[in-house]
């Protein structure tokens, strides 16, 4: 009996403790009606949709949610080197760092303009459950900080490996970034600024 009372009281304490910070896992809030045009996020049923549409629009719109939605939890971002930013002997990072950078980057710039196209002479590779897309890109950003109102340009080449997930949707699992010229910073340099 004593044991039962003790167990019950422990359970009640636990419930009370959780009650203060609990959140209903069933309910969502009511949204506002959309203003103007529709959205831009497409179901990534093909690898190019994930990269050329969703990743592109997430960048332009500075939408961290959609940006991270293009990537798998196991994503690895690999780069050759960085010209600016804090030092790090590693040349890669995972979803945790990518998430932090996305938040920093989209809040640290006031506008982003991007353009990318297939690499000349390099063919996209499609397998049954994986695909590799090769793209050259140009990105222009306007920094948000009033004391450093800068417009900066980045260019380079990326090889994006995607994998089909359990829902048959394509997600980025490896994103390799390369400089294409010695003096010109690449996407890795842009991200590294916001590490």
């Amino acid at each position: 009996m004593t044991r039962l009372v003790r167990t019950m009281s422990l359970s009640v304490c636990l419930v009370l403790l959780l009650n203060g910070c609990a959140k209903d896992p069933f309910s969502t809030r009511r949204p506002d009606k959309p203003l103007g045009n529709g959205g831009t996020y497409l179901t990534p049923v093909d690898p190019p949709i994930a990269v050329d549409t969703n990743l592109y629009h997430a960048m332009i719109e500075r939408n961290a949610g959609h940006y991270l939605q293009t990537m798998a939890d196991s994503v690895v971002y690999v780069f050759d080197y960085v010209l600016e930013g804090p030092p790090d002997s590693a040349h890669s990072w995972g979803i945790g760092e990518e998430s932090r950078i996305a938040g920093n980057m989209f809040s640290g710039v006031s506008s982003i303009d991007a353009f990318w196209e297939p690499v000349t002479g390099r063919v996209d590779r499609f397998e049954d459950t994986t695909a590799i897309l090769y793209r050259t890109y140009r990105i222009s950003v306007m920094m948000a900080k009033s004391d450093s109102a800068l417009s900066l340009s980045y260019r380079g080449e990326m090889a994006v490996t995607l994998r089909r997930n359990a829902l048959d949707l394509w997600l980025i699992v490896r994103w390799e970034d390369l400089h294409t010229s010695a003096g010109s910073p690449s996407w890795a340099d842009l991200k590294s600024r916001f590490r």
């Binding site: 044991r3 167990t7 422990l10 636990l14 403790l17 959780l18 910070c21 609990a22 959140k23 209903d24 896992p25 069933f26 969502t28 809030r29 949204p31 506002d32 009606k33 959309p34 203003l35 045009n37 529709g38 959205g39 831009t40 497409l42 179901t43 049923v45 500075r62 939408n63 050759d80 080197y81 010209l83 600016e84 930013g85 804090p86 030092p87 002997s89 932090r100 938040g103 920093n104 809040s107 640290g108 002479g121 590779r125 499609f126 397998e127 049954d128 050259t136 900080k145 450093s148 800068l150 900066l152 829902l167 048959d168 390369l178 400089h179 294409t180 010229s181 010695a182 916001f194 590490r195």
Partner: protein, 618 residues
């Protein structure tokens, strides 16, 4: 010279290795397209006649790549660490570390960083779980970029302390504690890193409590650009993590096997708390300017969880609730966001009869993000997920089993603000996936899997198109496997996959409308042989063929026409040979050729080869 000769008899036994030691290493070269890579690593550990321990670890990565612009990129990363340590027999000992690192990138500009460090010191090792180590030494570095160069040097320190064991806490508790400090005293770019961790474990007859707490501070100065050595940046980091876990298992009710009744019975109650806090602060030193964006960020993650699990006879049940709270701050208040997640997770499974098992799994999760009203960077949004999955396993006989899986999943993404709410959508996914496994004989195994999946995606604010089909993504898949191991040294595997996909999607045309949709049929045959003729040799040839036909559904006036796209095919041949010697050396050669159709009679051919030699487990 005389001194050296006199000291030689004393030094020599400290260098002659005994049979006690280990060697692991790998050297691999690969080539594909315009990229050549050489990875080389070696780890040696040896004990000498005097009982000294020597260890060497080395790694070299070389990469040469021709970029699409025709430029040549060469990268080299080299790191070596040599350690000598006195015998652990006595409570007082010494340790020497020699550390070297080189990293270089050559494009049109040659950038190179050389770094070396030596540390000499001693320690007190009173027991297996307690020690104090202190080392001091020197550190030097050289940075080069084209004609520019800067050298730097200073003192280096290392401090390590650990104190763990039972009996250090009341009521039979166990304590784990450690402190490490690394100091780099270079004049221009010094660095300090300190980590402190404390953990405890208590286990009583009915309750157990585990706690972990760790704090790390680092302060680093660095060159923000590898081409300029006149500007110096500073970064401060602070990380704090904490974890508390409590588990209550009523005496005699702990999940386990009841020998008297032949049942698994009992129940548990759990509660957890986790905290992870990161603070980053980066800036240039006062008076310096360059296109570097300083900033500070703060992220805090708190997680609370509670759960219970119970087992009784053939039944197993678990129910968990998790609450997570996150906060991200990006330097300015109006760029903050906080998140809250509630998650209910439950599973129930039962062994109905000796041949039938069944189970249900359900997850309900909602994450809500809140941002300041005037934030221009983030949006109030909700992400909801509901997953219900049921399975049933029937075993007709030891050779034949059937397992149908039925599941439903709903994902909702909701942006609250009018700026993004056009993206609000719901995904409903229904899956039926029966599988049959039939062990025809001891040597032949057949497996057939079907998967039927219907994925409905709808947007909250979409415009209906009279021409559009449903916004449904349908997929059917059949996978047939045959595995034959007629001879023990030879295994044949053939897999045939047929897939049908039919997608009717929505595109943004000033409001969501039906997209040009498509359907697709894929055929994939994969043939693989694994042959082990003996003497440590094995061969694994593989052939894969894929053929795909796609049809686009184009709009023409008041109808939709189905037009065949260019057929896609690819072929892949892989030849792999492995030889493992009786001493543990492994030689591996792999050749792969991949051909992909590009349409209009063009083909893309990719040859890849890789050779590696390794010893030990890497």
């Amino acid at each position: 010279m005389l001194c050296f000769v006199l000291l030689l008899p004393l030094v020599l036994p400290g260098l002659i290795p005994t049979a006690e030691g280990s060697l692991t290493g790998r050297s691999a070269f690969s080539s594909s397209y315009r990229t050549r890579t050489w990875l080389d690593s070696l780890q040696i550990q040896a004990k000498t006649l005097l009982g000294l321990t020597w260890s060497l670890s080395q790694r070299l990565d070389l990469l040469r790549k021709q970029l699409s612009t025709g430029r040549d990129l060469r990268q080299r990363q080299f790191h070596a660490l040599l350690t000598a340590q006195s015998p652990r027999r006595s409570p007082v000992g010494w340790k020497i570390d020699l550390d070297g690192d080189e990293s270089s990138i050559t494009e049109s500009v040659d950038r190179r960083t050389l770094w070396s460090r030596f540390l000499v010191g001693g320690g007190w090792y009173p027991g297996k779980q307690a020690y104090v180590e202190a080392q001091v030494g020197g550190i030097a570095s050289a940075h080069r970029a084209g004609a520019g160069r800067t050298d730097d040097q200073g003192l280096a320190q290392h401090l390590g302390l650990e104190w763990s064991g039972a009996g250090l806490l009341p009521a039979g508790g166990y304590l784990r504690s450690s402190l490490t400090h690394e100091g780099d005293g270079r004049v221009r770019i010094p660095a300090q890193d300190t980590r402190l961790a404390i953990g405890t474990d208590w286990a009583g007859p009915t309750d157990s409590v585990t706690t972990e707490w760790a704090e790390q501070w680092s302060n680093v100065r660095f060159f923000p650009s590898p081409d300029r050595f006149d500007v110096i940046g500073r970064q401060q980091r602070r990380n704090r993590s904490a974890q508390v876990q409590w588990r209550h298992s009523p005496a005699g009710r702990r999940p386990g096997f009841d020998h008297d009744r032949g049942l698994t019975v009992g129940w548990n109650l759990d509660a957890t708390y986790g905290l992870n806090q990161n603070l980053y602060d980066a800036a240039l030193l006062p008076g310096q300017t360059m296109a570097f964006i300083p900033g500070d960020t703060r992220t805090v993650r708190r997680a609370y969880g509670a759960g219970t699990d119970a087992r009784g006879g053939p039944w197993a049940f678990s129910l968990e609730y998790h609450y997570r709270w996150t906060e991200d701050r990006f330097g300015e208040v109006r760029r903050d966001q906080t998140g809250e997640t509630g998650e209910l997770n439950s599973t129930m499974s039962a062994r109905v009869t000796s041949t039938d098992s069944t189970g249900v799994r359900a997850i309900f999760r909602v994450t809500s993000y809140a941002v300041p009203a005037d934030s221009g960077f983030f949006d109030d949004r909700d992400e909801a997920e509901r997953v219900i999955e049921a399975f049933w396993w029937h075993r007709f006989s030891p050779e034949l089993a059937l397992r149908p899986v039925l599941s439903f999943q709903r994902q909702r993404q909701i942006f609250l603000s009018e700026r993004r709410s056009a993206d609000n959508n719901t995904n409903d996914i229904y899956v039926l996936a029966p599988a049959v496994i039939w062990n025809l004989t001891r040597a032949v195994m057949l497996q057939q899997t079907f998967a039927l999946r219907a994925h409905y995606r709808s947007f909250d604010f979409e415009r209906k198109d009279p021409l559009g089909r449903s916004t449904l993504f349908r997929r059917a898949e059949s996978v047939s496997d045959v595995r034959i191991a007629q001879v023990s040294a030879m295994t044949w595997t053939v897999r045939y996959t047929y897939r049908y996909e039919d997608f009717g999607g929505l595109y943004d045309r000033g409001g969501w409308v039906q997209a040009v949709d498509w359907d697709r049929r894929s055929n994939l045959i994969d043939f693989r042989l694994h042959w082990r003729p003996g003497l440590g040799l094995s061969f694994e040839p593989e052939v894969a063929l894929e053929f795909k036909r796609s049809f686009n559904h184009r709009r023409e006036a008041d109808r939709i026409r189905r037009i065949q796209d260019n057929p896609f095919w690819r072929r892949q041949l892989v030849l792999q040979a492995v030889w493992v010697s009786r001493y543990g050396y492994c030689v591996r050669l792999s050749l792969a050729q991949r051909t992909q159709d590009l349409g209009l009679g063009r083909r893309d051919l990719d040859n890849r080869w890789e050779f590696s030699l390794s010893k030990g487990v890497m």
